[in-house]
């Protein structure tokens, strides 16, 4: 009989990621209906286990080929843990690492799976709410009675709820052999940029709405008046219009300035992840349906070029 919730812990560089605590807090809240909460800690050390006080059990897997994250060996360890524990619900982060694990697990073990999850509820059946179409539509699905897998979006639940003190029992799970078709080589740290966008009080952030590399100049002019730095969404960095060090979001940097001015950014979940803690968010977008307006404190449905120009002029006039 499937019972209990299995939370897959995630860590990098010896540190548990926030997503682990976010899922653990959510799992705890569900445990009345869902049963005991087990955190699966693959290659974690004792200090990590000690941080997982909110769990009922910490299941630890150690073995060769697990020292660094590896989609193959971690996948096999997760598959074996699911076999051993037969949980009713498996929670995986919708993260760079979790993306390798959840869909594979779902297919290999033939389990229902929902990704992009903002929320999950357990009753007679398990339901999940997914944020789809770049944040424009939420989809609620019924995954059946369980077992099933959910991939949780970062920031969907508060991490604090998962940081409770406690003395979970620990158990050790065997590490299955892995075929060794994927080999971890090394980690490459990012190079430091000219500007540290995480240390700025004001960020003027531009998205694909800016249209071309040359037009970033209008944002730079505005940033100069505001004593701000220019940051950007991923597509601009991928296009080579801004350096990687200016990227805000899931695979970029997390920022929390006093003011985040988002120009021509749609508000995809991967972008929101990096800037939602900003004190004041002002969004300018020509699409009134743009999801960014669900997260911004203030919004303007307008052409970003008009706003940049008028605001820059108004600020110049104020200074006199």
């Amino acid at each position: 009989m499937a019972d209990g919730i299995l939370v897959v812990a995630e860590h990098l560089g010896g540190k548990l990621s926030d997503i682990t605590f976010e899922m653990l807090g959510k799992a705890k809240a569900l445990s009345g209906a869902g049963g005991d909460v087990t955190v699966l800690l693959i290659a974690g050390d004792a200090s990590m286990a000690a941080e997982l006080g909110a769990a009922d059990t910490v299941a630890i897997v150690e073995g060769d080929g697990l020292a660094d994250f590896n989609p193959e060996s971690y996948g096999a360890a997760l598959g074996a843990a699911v076999e051993a524990k037969s949980p009713r619900l498996v929670m995986v982060g919708y993260t760079a690492m979790g993306m390798d694990l959840a869909s594979t697990l779902a297919v290999k073990r033939n389990l229902p799976h929902a990704t992009f999850c903002l929320d999950v509820a357990i009753g007679d059946s398990i339901t999940a709410t997914s944020q789809c179409y770049g944040g424009k539509i939420n989809v609620t699905t019924d995954l059946g009675a369980g077992p099933c897998v959910v991939s949780m979006l970062a920031g969907a639940a508060p991490a604090d709820a998962g940081r409770a003190e406690g003395t979970p029992s620990t158990e050790s799970l065997p590490a299955p052999a892995s075929a060794g078709k994927i080999r971890f080589k090394r980690l490459i740290e990012p190079e430091a940029g000219d500007v540290d966008i995480t240390a700025q009080e004001i960020l003027v952030a531009v998205g694909r709405g800016i249209g071309s590399k040359d037009d970033i100049e209008v944002a730079e002019d505005l940033a100069e008046e505001l004593d701000a730095a220019v940051a950007g969404s991923r597509p601009l960095i991928d296009a080579g219009w801004l350096p990687k060090t200016r990227q805000v979001g899931k695979s970029g940097l997390k920022v929390a300035p006093k003011l985040y001015l988002a120009l021509g950014i749609s508000g995809a979940p991967e972008h929101i992840e990096g800037m939602k803690s900003s004190a004041t968010i002002v969004a300018v977008n020509s699409d009134k349906q743009a999801p960014i307006f669900n997260f911004a404190h203030y919004g303007m449905v307008a052409d970003l070029f008009d706003v940049c120009e008028e605001l820059t002029e108004a600020l110049q006039e104020r200074k006199g």
């Binding site: 594979t104 297919v107 980690l187 505001l226 605001l311």
Partner: protein
């Protein structure tokens, strides 16, 4: 190197999206479709690999509105062969699509299968790891560059904060591409038209299995929470900036 790229079309997110009367599906009447942006990066990375290895590149897509144009464009960019999967029935979600793609891919000699890391409607999982799991091949998601290596490929996978992990993978393998080393190339309209006039797309029969893994309870635009307070002009914006003490 024998390369295969899986292409998927997606509702254009720039357009208004509406839920139909059932409350469980998108209203498709005015829906515009476009290539999943991450598949475009996958195609670019595959083209770069093809050029570097004197390889062979096949693109595959499920038949549907505007799919011919998508495939002709890929050919115009440099793909050698385009396969259109017909009569696959209504594939239910990505799990179904993964099965259909895996079946076609398994009949093709291939070293590397590339597709987008995700699409905005991947409710039931990501295509790359699911296709790989069915084919029993190794897979890495969130890949930003691929190079050939002894017995396989060497790839970069991106974590958060710009940290990158390097892996070596034995081929055949599947990768989910997040970004390509250079921005996707542009295919001139005239070249696409010329290809369209001189080429017939190859078709292959698909087979859909019942692979729905959940039932949709409802689709709704997200609740706006408090939502943004909307500003009408620059004067109002200036007042906000003043009240927040940032100017």
């Amino acid at each position: 190197m024998k390369l295969v790229v899986l292409l998927k079309r997606l509702p254009d997110l720039v357009e208004d999206l509406e839920v139909d009367d059932s409350g469980k599906a998108l209203d498709t009447e005015f829906l515009k479709f476009t290539l999943n942006e991450f598949d475009d990066y996958a195609l670019e990375e595959a083209l770069l690999l093809k050029e570097a290895t004197d390889g062979e590149l096949t693109v595959i897509a499920l038949d549907g509105e505007d799919v011919d144009k998508m495939l002709y464009t890929a050919l115009a960019k440099g793909a050698d062969k385009a396969l259109k999967i017909e009569n696959a029935g209504e594939a239910s979600g990505n799990r179904g699509l993964a099965g259909i793609f895996a079946k076609v891919v398994s009949s093709l000699p291939h070293d590397l299968v590339l597709t987008g890391v995700q699409s905005a409607e991947d409710i039931d999982g990501q295509l790359a790891p699911m296709v790989a799991a069915i084919l029993d091949e190794p897979c890495v998601e969130v890949v930003t560059q691929v190079a050939t290596a002894d017995g396989g490929v060497s790839i970069h996978k991106e974590y958060s904060g710009g940290v990158v992990a390097e892996f070596e993978i034995d081929t055949p393998a599947v990768v989910g591409i997040q970004a390509s080393r250079q921005a996707p190339r542009y295919a001139p309209v005239s070249k696409v038209r010329q290809i369209q006039e001189s080429t017939t797309l190859e078709t292959v029969a698909g087979s859909a299995a019942d692979t729905s893994v959940f039932t949709v309870v409802q689709m709704t635009p997200p609740e706006t929470g408090g939502g943004a307070q909307m500003l009408g002009n620059i004067g109002e914006l200036i007042k906000v900036l003043e009240s927040k003490g940032v100017i």
